[in-house]
Each structure stands twice: as structure tokens, then as C-alpha cells.
């Protein structure tokens, strides 16, 4: 199968959907001629014109608001938010308006929009351009949250997001834009709420989101060398969450580590670990472990930044401890 970059996969997904459905348009900063600073959208304006690939002023709350109104009235906007860190700017329009409109109107109005943005540290971009803020939106009912972990997922989840009748936030890993993966030429969609088991194993379950899926896979390779079979699972969407697949895996392996690039405290790992603890409690041979980013603003200095996020080595070590029963009474 051909291999394409994550960037190209996103581009294809949007182009295909825009060809299919003329109600779709995309807006954001420098999305047209510039094709975004990451060049993810290059070529789209040439095909679809500036009426459908719309350059906006630097007004994130404003164009997020426009998208809500457009979505309520028959259009299907895709909003491009240049950095995930700017989500703080659009929270009101996203969480007080988009997320609640369908419910507040008793089902009469709906807001089919996609907010595409990114996450990921270690790009030396410092505290305001490196955050992984998906936990914030996952907490708000009414929003769906997708976390592609490769070019394949990026395309399939984006197409599903665009066709969804609800507001969907999709976080791409900005460090993976140039990573290639096999992506079929034929059309495919990846349904929301279906986890992907990347690798089967019986000793421990490694649950990774987005950028952390690769980390888990590498850790699994290292564990394999020690004769330990790790199962690697990617939930793919946080909302809806395919709880069953995660629980079934843990029932089989009796051990789990949840790895995510958002800050650890009050984030994704706590939710997933809690559900496993609640629903697979009597199967567990060790406490479910969590590995999120450190609870610190992302530092600029490479010497510091690199230690703030989970690495294959550290997941490997933690898994080893868990399997060897060294996790008595916790960390």
C-alpha cells in the first residue's frame, strides 16, 4: 500500500469531503495561499477557491463563533486552529455555545462543525505553543474528541468528524505531520468509539493516545526483548470512548499503563485508569499506572523539555515494574 504523511492524509480527507459536500468550508489563519504554517492544507485553495478556504484575521474567538452560527444554519464549517494552545481563546464559543446548542434547543438546532488543531511538546516552542489540551474539551458534554495516532487514523477520523452532526475537536500531533504510514487509495472512514488494538499481548496493556501510541509501541518492542508481551491499544476517540475494548484487554492482561501527552493531573489518564479500576477491579494484579506529561508549563530549554513527556524507556521501565510486581503500594 502507498505510504503518505499525516499532513497529506489530513489534506486528502478534507479535499475528498469538500468535493462530496459543497456545504463544507474551512476557515482559519493563513489557511489559503500559505496552506497553514505547517503546510497541511497546501493546494486546497487552488482547488476550492477563497470562498471555501477562508483566511481569517487573527480572531480565534470570533471565527470560532462564526463557525457555530454557520453550522446552525446549514453549512458544515471546519475551523483550523493553528496551535492547540489557542483553544483557551475559543473555549466560550466552543463549550458554552457549540457544545450545548443541540441540547439546549431540545434537539432542534445542531452544530455540525470540526475544530482541527494540534498537540505535542518537544518542538522547543515553549509554554504557549506546546500544550496538549484535549482533556479540557473531553470534559465538556456535547463535544466529541478524536486523537489520530498515524496518517491512517488522521484521514479516517477526519472524514468521520466532517460527517458527524455534532461539534468534533480533532487533535493532530504536530510532530507527526511528516511521519508516513500506509493509507489506502480507496475511501474509508474510521468510526468513532472504536479502539484499535495495534498489538496483542497477554502480560500488560499499554493504552496510548495520539503521539503516545508510538511511544507505547516502542516500549512494547523493548518489553518483547525481555519476553514480556504487551498489548497496545489506541482508543482513537476520547469521546465517545470505547471502554469495552480497554476493559476487555485489561481483563486479559491484568495490568495496564495509560500513557497520554496531556498534563497528568486531572486529565485523560485519570479518567481511563478509573474506568479500568472500576470495571476490571477484580481482574487487576497491579494498580493501573498512569503516565501523563509532567504538571509543569512546558519549558523552552531542551534540557528540561525532553523530560516532561513520557518516553518509550520510561514506559518500558514502568511496565517492567508492574509485571514484576514491584508496584506494591504504588509509586
Amino acid at each position: 500500500m502507498r505510504e503518505i504523511t499525516l499532513s497529506k492524509a489530513v489534506n486528502e480527507a478534507i479535499a475528498e469531503e469538500m468535493r462530496r459536500d459543497s456545504t463544507i468550508f474551512l476557515m482559519g489563519e493563513d489557511v489559503a495561499e500559505a496552506g497553514t504554517p505547517f503546510k497541511v492544507l497546501s493546494g486546497l485553495v487552488e482547488e476550492f477557491g477563497t470562498e471555501r478556504i477562508v483566511d481569517t484575521p487573527i480572531s480565534e474567538p470570533g471565527f470560532m463563533g462564526l463557525a457555530v452560527g454557520a453550522a446552525m444554519t446549514g453549512s458544515r464549517p471546519i475551523v483550523d486552529l493553528m496551535f492547540g494552545d489557542f483553544i483557551f481563546l475559543v473555549m466560550d464559543q466552543l463549550c458554552n455555545q457549540a457544545a450545548k446548542t443541540h441540547y439546549m434547543s431540545g434537539g432542534k438546532l445542531s452544530v455540525p462543525l470540526v475544530l482541527r488543531t494540534n498537540l505535542g511538546a518537544t518542538r522547543r516552542s515553549a509554554a504557549q505553543h506546546s500544550q496538549s489540551l484535549h482533556a479540557l474539551v473531553a470534559h465538556i458534554p456535547g463535544l466529541k474528541v478524536a486523537m489520530p495516532s498515524s496518517a491512517y487514523e488522521a484521514k479516517g477520523l477526519m472524514k468521520t468528524a466532517i460527517r458527524d452532526e455534532n461539534p468534533v475537536v480533532i487533535f493532530e500531533d504536530k510532530l507527526m505531520y511528516n511521519d508516513k504510514a500506509p493509507v489506502p487509495e480507496e475511501e474509508y472512514l474510521i468510526p468513532f468509539g472504536e479502539a484499535n488494538i495495534l498489538r496483542e499481548g497477554r502480560d500488560i496493556t499499554l493504552i496510548g493516545t495520539s503521539s503516545m501510541v508510538q511511544v507505547c509501541e516502542k516500549a512494547a518492542d523493548m518489553l518483547a526483548e525481555q519476553g514480556i508481551e504487551a498489548e497496545v491499544i489506541d482508543p482513537r476517540t476520547l469521546v465517545p470512548l470505547d471502554e469495552d475494548s480497554l476493559i476487555n484487554s485489561v481483563k486479559k492482561t491484568s495490568r495496564a499503563i495509560v500513557v497520554d501527552e496531556g498534563h497528568q493531573s486531572y486529565g485523560i489518564t485519570g479518567e481511563i485508569a478509573s474506568r479500568l479500576n472500576e470495571k476490571a477491579f477484580y481482574y487487576l494484579d497491579a494498580p493501573v499506572q498512569r503516565m501523563g506529561a509532567m504538571d509543569v508549563p512546558v519549558p523552552f530549554s531542551p534540557a528540561l523539555e525532553d523530560i516532561t513527556v513520557p518516553t518509550p524507556e520510561r514506559v518500558f521501565e514502568q511496565a517492567l515494574k508492574s509485571v514484576k510486581g514491584e508496584l506494591f503500594h504504588g509509586a
Partner: protein, 335 residues
Amino acid sequence: MSRNSKKSNDEAYVRMYQQMVRIRAFEDNANKLYLAAKMPGLTHMYSGQEAVAVGICEALKSTDKITSTHRGHGHCVAKGADFKEMFCELLGKEEGYCRGKGGSMHIADQENGNLGANAIVGGSAGIATGAALSAKHLGKDDVTVCFFGDGALGQGLLYEVMNMAALWNLPVIYACENNLYGEYTKVEEMAAGELTARAKAFGIESHIVDGQDVLAVNKLSQDLVARARKGEGPFFMQLNTYRYHGHHVGDINREYYRPKSEEELWKTERDPISNFAKWLLKEKVLTEAELNQIEKDVQQDAKDAVTYAEAADYPDVSEVTLHVYKQNQGEGASQ
């Protein structure tokens, strides 16, 4: 009072009069429900500002859109809503416009183009502008009116979207209802400079109009809506008006922020309904008897709707998880 009248306009005059009377009646009944502790929560009365909503909405067709505010009953009625569904909504009943889920502050009436009240001050400015962008994108000639109060001028969102509306010539009209107060604070303590200058800064054509004069409001609206429909938008209107009640129904002792004499002045000399009634009589559009009949019919309508709403059912508890997400084609039950 302005005069753009011809007998051929009588129908519109009567309709505007009726609609203003309907808003006032709705609010009086809502207030009674609150005082009788029959209404859950609080509500913000539109009484006094009727000419604004009615003068503007009379210039709109039903596919034109409006966005509304926390003080949204007037806009809702003016855009064509029924009392029954409105009162049901205010009481949290299943037959309400939003199945009781929205209440007063989120009342919406999609079929008549009302995209909803909003409990975030200024929060609907983006929605309105987006609806206008959507119309343009989809090749429709619908116009959107964004209602908001003087207080909403404090919200930065408004400036962001006015800029985009101006850049892209969107068919949206910003209708700023200056009722002199935002909650318990005077407009001049909250807003530096001239209000209209804030739209003019983006090259948006701006107008100030007497918001108590339904004909003046309607005349300006007719003109701006027609021009917006032709792609000459956006526009900004400052409508000078006054709210008769407190900021919300619970705001009773308000002399510390505005004098009773000021309230009296507006109510007696500038009431949009009685002044318009006088004009209708003078111009012989309606007789005293006809005016009374309208009043009586509206009152009866309101009374019936209240009675109906009081007796109506609450939504079944199972509805609590319904409508969090809209079901996609081929999907099972709401997630």
C-alpha cells in the same frame, strides 16, 4: 413619530401593534408566574423595548435569522413564536420550544429563524455573523439580525466579528439596544466614546434611531435589510430604549442605580405601545374599539397559553441524556 405611512401599509401597522401588545402581555404573565413562584429560576423582562424587536422583525422574512439575548422573549414573539410553546418552555415543560431544556435564557424557535436566546452577554455575535456567512456561502439571500444590549459592547468578540463582517460584506445587522443600563451599571460607566464609533471603526455604516418609535425602527430596518440582502451589509443600529422592570424579575429595589422618576418618564411619555396606539387612532388605522379588541384577544391568548403550560407535562426523566449528541445517520440510540 415618523411617518412613512399609506393606507396600504395598514396591515403591517396592525400587525406591529398586535405584536407589541403580545410582547407586553407575555411579559406581564411571565412576571405573574414568577411572583406566584410558579416559574423556575429567574427571567429578564423585555417590557418597554417592544418597538425595537417588532420594528426590526417586521422587516424580516421568516427565513431571515435573528440571534437573541438573555432578555429574549420580545425577540422570540416578534419573530413569530407562539405563546403556548413559549410558556411551556418557561415552565420547563416537554411541549416547550426546547422541550424544557433551555428555559427563558435559551428559548429558540428555529422554524421562524430565531437561533436562540443566549445567556452569555455578547455570546451570540459570532453566531449571527456566522449565520450571515453561511447564507452567503450557501447562496441564500437571508439576512441575520444580531440583537444585543449596550452592555455587550464590552465583549471583545463583537469587534472581532464586526471586522470580519465588514471585510467580507456579510448580510448581518448589529442591533444594539441601548436601554441605558447593563444590570446595575449605567452605560456611560461601561462604555468610553460614542457607541456607534465602535462599528464605524470597521467601516460599518451606523445609525442611531429612537427605539420607542416602532415606525422609525421599522423604516430604517426595511432599508438596511433590503440593502444587506443585496450584499451591501453589514450595518449597525443603535436603538435608544428603556427596560421598565428590573434587570431581572428579582431586581425590585433599584433606586440605588436608577431613579423612579426616570422610570416614570419613560413609561408615561415614551411608551412605544400607547404612543403607537395614539398614532393609529389619529391616522384612523384603528378605532378605539379595535384597539381594545386586540388587547382583549391577546390577553385571552396569553391566559389560555399559561393555563395550558401550567397543566402540561414535564419531560420524562429519560430525556435527560437525550440531545447531548445528535444521532448520526445509521447510528443507534443517542450516545
